[in-house]
């Protein structure tokens, strides 16, 4: 098993005919992901790659195919609108890949999702991949993952791939590799992801890739200490980031002396979570503490 979805989950893609959407839809299909529909207003009735029916609205797509989850590749101005639409149409899982979404759009969308019991992953995230389910909802490279017992949560993209690649090379396959995104307001935060992994019996060890800004890692540390018995290791990016400067991700900023890598490291270590000094140390650290 894994978290959030299985190989049975029916998935649709909003913005499937766009530049990014079509590129990644092909990759997702190629991996074997159960994509049942695409949505692009005005393209209803077309077929994507000869097999995926395209609809004008998510509602139409859900009615025709029973889709339960949506992956969103629409431009920033329409991203929140796409999340609203997916939730309104009954999707219980929405993964928003779009980068550059206005923060207040996400603030507005959150209670709408809460009222409908919808999980959002992202925005501005690579999504996730469940290698054992051949389910990829997002843009992660498929060639670096392999099925296995390790769960991975990250606020980052390529840094995640770096660690996943190392895990796979070390023979440590993954249940789910999840990139939650680097924006200040995201649907699934560290804590939400931790709780999901905690509830997944297949996940026997966990890697958390954090970065500067906010206190998600600190709160995650508390949760791990209080609840989790499986081995957890971590890495925090941004030790050398100067205060007050946004490091790419809107959320990656040390402000008012809070959200530093040192603080996060301290909190994690005091919760019994070893923190690697280098990305390359993550896997050896995990192997060291994991009594299989």
């Amino acid at each position: 098993m894994a978290i959030f979805c299985t190989d049975q989950t029916k998935i649709l893609i909003q913005g499937i005919t766009g530049r990014d959407g079509s590129f990644h839809a092909k990759s997702m299909l190629g991996y074997g992901t159960n994509i049942v529909a695409g949505v692009t207003p005005g393209r209803g009735g077309q077929t994507f790659e000869g097999k995926v029916p395209v609809f004008d609205t998510v509602k139409d797509a859900v009615a025709a195919t029973g889709a339960e989850a949506s992956v969103i590749f629409v431009p920033p101005a329409g991203a929140a609108g796409a999340v609203f639409e997916a939730a309104d149409a009954g999707c219980k899982l929405v993964v928003c890949i779009t980068e550059g979404v206005p923060t207040l759009d996400m603030v507005k969308v959150m209670p709408y999702l809460a009222e409908r019991g919808v999980r959002l992953v992202g925005p501005n995230c690579p999504g996730f991949i469940n290698p054992g389910q051949k389910a990829k909802l997002g843009i992660m490279p498929t060639n670096i993952v392999t099925p296995g017992p390790v769960g991975l949560i990250s606020r980052s993209g390529t840094l995640t791939y770096e660690v996943v690649d190392a895990l796979t090379r070390a023979g440590l396959g993954q249940t789910t590799c999840l990139g939650i995104g680097g924006d200040p307001v995201i649907g699934t935060n560290f804590m939400d992801a931790l709780q999901a992994f905690h509830a997944d019996p297949a996940t026997q060890a966990l890697v958390m890739i954090g970065e500067i800004g906010g206190d998600a890692e600190e709160r995650a540390a508390d949760f791990v200490k209080a609840n989790m018995k499986i081995p957890v290791v971590s890495f925090i990016a941004g030790r050398t980031a100067p205060p007050g400067k946004r490091m790419g991700h809107a959320g990656a900023i040390v402000s008012g002396g809070a959200g530093t890598a040192a603080e996060k490291k301290k909190a994690l270590e005091s919760a019994g979570i070893p923190v690697a000094d280098r990305p390359a140390d993550v896997v050896p650290l995990l192997q060291q503490i994991w009594k299989r």
Binding site: H24, S27, P76, A77, G100, V101, P102, T103, L104, D105, M106, V107, K108, M110, P111, I139, M140, P141, N143, I144, S154, S156, G157, T158, L159, T160, Y161, E162, D165, G182, P184, V185, N189, E211, I212, G214, D215, A216, R219, A237, G238, R239, T240, A241, P242, K245, R246, M247, G248, H249, A250, G251, A252, G256, G257, A261, D277, R278, P279, A280
Partner: protein, 377 residues
């Protein structure tokens, strides 16, 4: 994007907040003229995108025209935390019977806009947060209903039990929220919000940070950007749509992905070096973007080596390698370049690099170590 106090005050005015009048001067003469227009005494306030202006001597009370002459003269041209003061706000000085802090920001934990308010106004709120956190009242605003009358009033009555003043405070909070939403802000602060001796509430300072992601909705805000305040390399990066932060080391870093870029900087430091910058070139292998990135980094005379750290992911490494090679052929490069490429078609990419001066590396660690050697560290 950060904007100046006088610009933030305009946004506050549009939302209905009471803000004292004032004008911007770039010379002592203009400051004097404004002081005459608005009537003495006035405050002369440096307009730079840095905190602690008061402490740095950049905010002065002027009782006489001589005061204006002296202080405006001193402040214009002054350096505040690396920012040169090019303009001052001249605004009537107010009598202050009481002062408060009112602020809003996007709160990650509640995923809402958070109202923060304190009776400890006029001092650095970060300091209050550390030394006396209980003095800051907080209320997370439900975006569905906004900041309701009774919610604002409950906070206001805790700041000031006088009902007339509490009503003004509550009203200011609601208008601050309106301004926050209208501007797509990520932070908005009034510090201090004062009451004059006559009991009139006013926002005498103003701070707004705008959400860069929302600037597309506010075409007018482009004019608010103070190009003088931007580091030239950071401006070039913004115009080239690259995430870039200038640092003071000698290892120029070009990385795809913000997290990996930070980790690369950290690794440079881990091996005893000093990164020259943070730079995320994104997922693209477009030679133009690489050229722009190289130009920005090479504009820094401290840079002694360039380090590409690219995790190929879905884009093919040989494509990225071709992009880098094309870029380096289009310009003069005065320093060695180390390239680490991992992912799909990684072997082909390394093959391509062997035909060039570029130094290949298989891992992050190897790349950083080679770069530091080449930097003559």
């Amino acid at each position: 994007m950060n904007i100046h106090e006088y610009q933030a005050k305009d946004i506050f005015r549009d939302a209905g907040l009471t803000v004292p009048p004032g004008g911007i001067a770039t010379t002592v003469e203009e400051a004097l003229s404004l002081a005459r227009t608005h009537g003495l005494p006035v405050m002369v306030k440096s307009q730079v995108l840095a905190g602690g202006r008061g402490k740095a001597g950049g905010v002065k009370f002027c009782k006489t025209e001589d005061d204006v002459r002296t202080h405006a003269g001193n402040i214009l041209g002054m350096d505040i935390k690396g920012h040169t003061v090019r303009k001052v706000l001249v605004t009537p000085a107010e009598t202050i019977a009481a002062e408060f802090y009112l602020g809003m920001l996007v709160d990650r934990a509640s995923r809402r806009v958070l109202l923060m308010a304190s009776a400890e106004g006029g001092v650095e709120i970060e300091k209050v947060a550390v030394e006396k956190p209980e003095a800051i009242l907080k209320h997370a605003i439900d975006p569905r209903f906004g900041l309701l009358d009774h919610e604002a009033m409950a906070v206001a009555l805790r700041l000031d039990p006088d009902v007339k003043r509490a009503r003004q405070l509550a009203d200011a909070m609601q208008k601050l929220y309106k301004a926050f939403l209208a501007a797509d802000a990520s932070l908005a602060e009034i510090n201090p919000f004062i009451f004059t001796d006559q009991g009139v509430g006013k926002a005498i300072d103003a701070k707004i940070n705008l959400d860069d992601n929302a600037l597309f909705r506010h075409p007018g805000y482009a004019a608010l950007r103070d190009l003088d305040e931007e580091n030239p390399s950071e401006r070039m990066a913004r115009e080239a749509d690259l995430s870039f932060v200038k640092l003071d080391g000698n290892v120029g870093c070009l990385v795809n992905g913000a997290g990996l870029a930070m980790a690369t900087m950290d690794l440079v430091q881990y091996y005893g070096g000093r990164p020259a910058n943070f730079l995320d070139i994104g997922g693209s292998s477009n030679p133009d973007k690489v050229v722009n990135a190289l130009r920005i980094i090479l504009g820094d005379p401290n840079v002694e080596v360039i380090l590409f750290n690219i995790f190929g992911g879905i884009t093919r490494c040989d494509d990225v390698a071709r992009g880098i090679i094309a870029a380096t052929e289009r310009m003069e490069i005065r320093v060695p370049i180390v390239v680490r490429l991992t992912g799909t078609n990684e072997a082909e990419a390394r093959e391509l690099l062997t035909k060039t001066d570029l130094v290949p590396a298989a891992t992050m660690d190897e790349a950083v170590q080679k770069a530091l050697e080449l930097a003559g560290k």
